[in-house]
Symmetry: C2
């Protein structure tokens, strides 16, 4: 109990979220959860620790190195949650008799990667997924796409664009260009970089992979001219039926997505007002769950880029500014008038006003004002002898300095509406 | 990617929360967070992983064995969050210039203990704390006590009782009974068991500790007759001023609390309708933060027994029964009438109704009904040719079997209110 801390610090790649930042994150979570639930998605939580055997060998050799593993005191090999798909594959296998035929779940939990920390890349970060398991109908795809769209809309983003493609179209278009050294996934991975590095760089990458210049150019041309598929058409139509504006969803034949496991529809969210990168993407992956867990079940979903969503919403001013948790500080005039301050705080809280009571009875009012100011509490309320005599409350706006003396009812009204 | 799972299972002492259970937990969190924020408490989040050096040597030798530690690939000694107090002590030291003079924070995160799992004891569980740092005024104590009280009230518990005492009273009463082998904390730990094991067992424990029978009996008698302190009186008065019913807060001279670090006020929540144990307790600990982190700051707070709160609320029927995430299943009559189903789902969602769309266009209605029934979705909505002609919707109550054909507006009204 007496050991002193050395220098107080977090591990590299890990973050503290102080109240102002934490409130922003909670705001985004609340907004998207609301939409997830309107779409009938249900919450799921899995443990932070799993048998290492569950996690290793699932993400590829390179990724295996990034899984946090250790041996516990019972000599078990333990791993920290690396993503939410593998634990969900376990859930689907373990509870298959309990789960509904169509399982639509959302999951918002932290994952851990022993990766090199850099700007925007952390060792612990929040993943946010929605998926529908059990349906191979285009309707499930459309539900995912429109739920995604509305989640962004509900945060307040004015412009939300969905780029959508079908891996089957890519497979068909790319097949003639594969050879012994370049398979279709290798081609897809190059094409995926089109937006980032441009056509010329992709062509030279394809040449490096073993295509001749002519073919490399032809790949891009044919991709660009690819026609939509009947399945993709149904998905887009249904998504529009579910409220996605026609102009906000666009067939994008060169959209490739990096991950190998997508089998059919793939899509990405683009926020034209925010250019630091995609805020989410997903698609259909009908074979992955069987590969991971031994239950053969079709699946479609999206992983939201949570940190980027918070950053984008914050930059665009969509998160209500709230420097402090309290909307008002109830001051304590003096020990003599404490009862009235207590009563006022209690009344305000019962009316739904977030209220901090100054936790000291012997501090001058101006110091209490200073405290509110420094903490960013937008208003202070005073009940001193004069106010008590007149049965009113003095409410001071800390930004404008304006002070009014009004009734309790008016005070509540003011605080509720002006946040 | 192709490695198969062995038997799908969680580690012993770890839990999956499937939707029905997760919703219950989320309900409790939402209810108590609401009250925390009304009292001006602000959210805080710290990383799951910390330097092991931060965690070890803080909780005592026995507890040190229960801290999950390991060496990461960078040869750092890492530990998993063991409680929320030690990381918060780090926060108070690390950000002391950024934090307000009075820092009131709530924190709801999972902690990890390599303890023997048993009924009600898990290796990963949710801790939920509120604390006020920086004030030694009885007002801060009263804020904690009344916030606690209202948090339970807001869940719906009809009877919430607060037992409250002052360690200073205990120290004074017990001092004459200490000797070389029995210090005041040892006496406190025995007295703490009074409710659990009864007076006789406590007396014999005290005798085993080296008190003679006469003194052992006298200890209990004097504890029982102890008078309240001026400080405790102010706290109780202020708590009543802040809305705690007078009859719900009681000076309990034999309340001791097990932990050594409490210095003054201590309290416990008792729910008379739930007898499986205390659902939370806390007090003032003015020296602990300095001991943990080198910042000398007074503190008062409570740790809620989250799992027990969920269990108690569930047993008493306070958690709205919600077997399914969706309030209604919008069925798909046939591919021909899909547009109308999409539109209906979209309208319902926009009106705030949690809506699942049946994700298949080629399934008979009775099968869709069966699906809703099995999943516990309380209502299904049908738009077939007849309904479309009459511009109405058929809504079937899955519990009663009753079916009505009503307008969209009426449907929304029904679903919103009977949700």
């Amino acid at each position: 109990m007496t050991k002193k801390m050395q220098k107080p610090q977090t591990l590299k790649g890990f973050r503290d979220f102080l109240p102002e930042e934490k409130r922003k994150r909670d705001f985004i979570i609340q907004r998207i959860k609301q939409v997830f639930e309107l779409f009938g998605f249900e919450p799921l939580e899995t443990p932070t620790l799993e048998y290492a055997g569950l996690l290793l060998g699932k993400y590829g050799d390179e990724a295996d190195k990034l899984v946090y593993t250790f041996t516990d005191r019972g000599k078990r090999q333990i791993g920290l949650r690396f993503d939410q798909t593998v634990p969900t594959a376990r859930i689907l296998a373990q509870y298959q008799n309990q789960l509904p035929k169509y399982f639509r779940r959302y999951q918002i939990q932290n994952v851990f990667r022993a990766d090199k920390p850099q700007k925007g890349r952390f060792r612990e970060f929040t993943q946010c997924d929605i998926d529908i398991f059990g349906s191979s109908s285009p309707l499930a795809d459309a539900e995912i796409v429109s739920c995604t769209y509305w989640a962004f809309k509900n945060i307040g983003f004015k412009q939300v664009k969905i780029k959508i493609n079908d891996r089957q179209i890519l497979f068909e278009t790319l097949k003639p260009f594969t050879n012994k050294t370049v398979d279709v996934f290798s081609l897809i991975q190059s094409i995926d970089k089109l937006n980032k590095i441009g056509a010329e760089a992709v062509i030279s990458e394809l040449e490096n992979k073993g295509l001749n210049k002519n073919d490399a150019q032809k790949v891009l041309k044919e991709i660009g001219q690819a026609k939509t598929s009947p399945s993709l058409k149904s998905i887009i139509e249904a998504a529009v039926g579910l409220g996605v504006a026609k102009t906000d969803i666009q067939f994008s034949p060169s959209l490739a997505r990096g991950l190998d496991y997508y089998t059919d529809m793939i899509f990405e969210v683009v926020l034209p007002e925010y250019t630091a990168g995609s805020c989410g993407g997903g698609g259909r992956y009908d074979k992955l769950i069987a590969q991971l867990g031994g239950v053969d079940i079709p699946a479609v979903g999206i992983a939201f880029g949570f940190d980027r969503m918070v950053e984008a919403a914050d930059q665009l001013g969509l998160i209500p500014e709230q420097k402090s948790g309290a909307q008002v500080l109830v001051t304590v005039f003096s020990p003599e008038y404490l009862t009235q301050s207590l009563q006022l705080a209690s009344r305000l809280r019962q009316a739904g006003v977030k209220t901090e009571l100054y936790p000291d009875t012997n501090v001058r009012l101006d110091k209490q004002f200073k405290y509110a100011n420094k903490k960013g509490i937008p208003r202070v309320a005073i009940v001193g002898p004069e106010e008590i005599r007149a049965n009113i409350i003095a409410v001071k706006n800390m930004k404008t300095g304006e002070q009014e003396t009004i009734s309790l009812e008016k005070t509540i009204e003011k605080l509720i509406t002006n946040g």
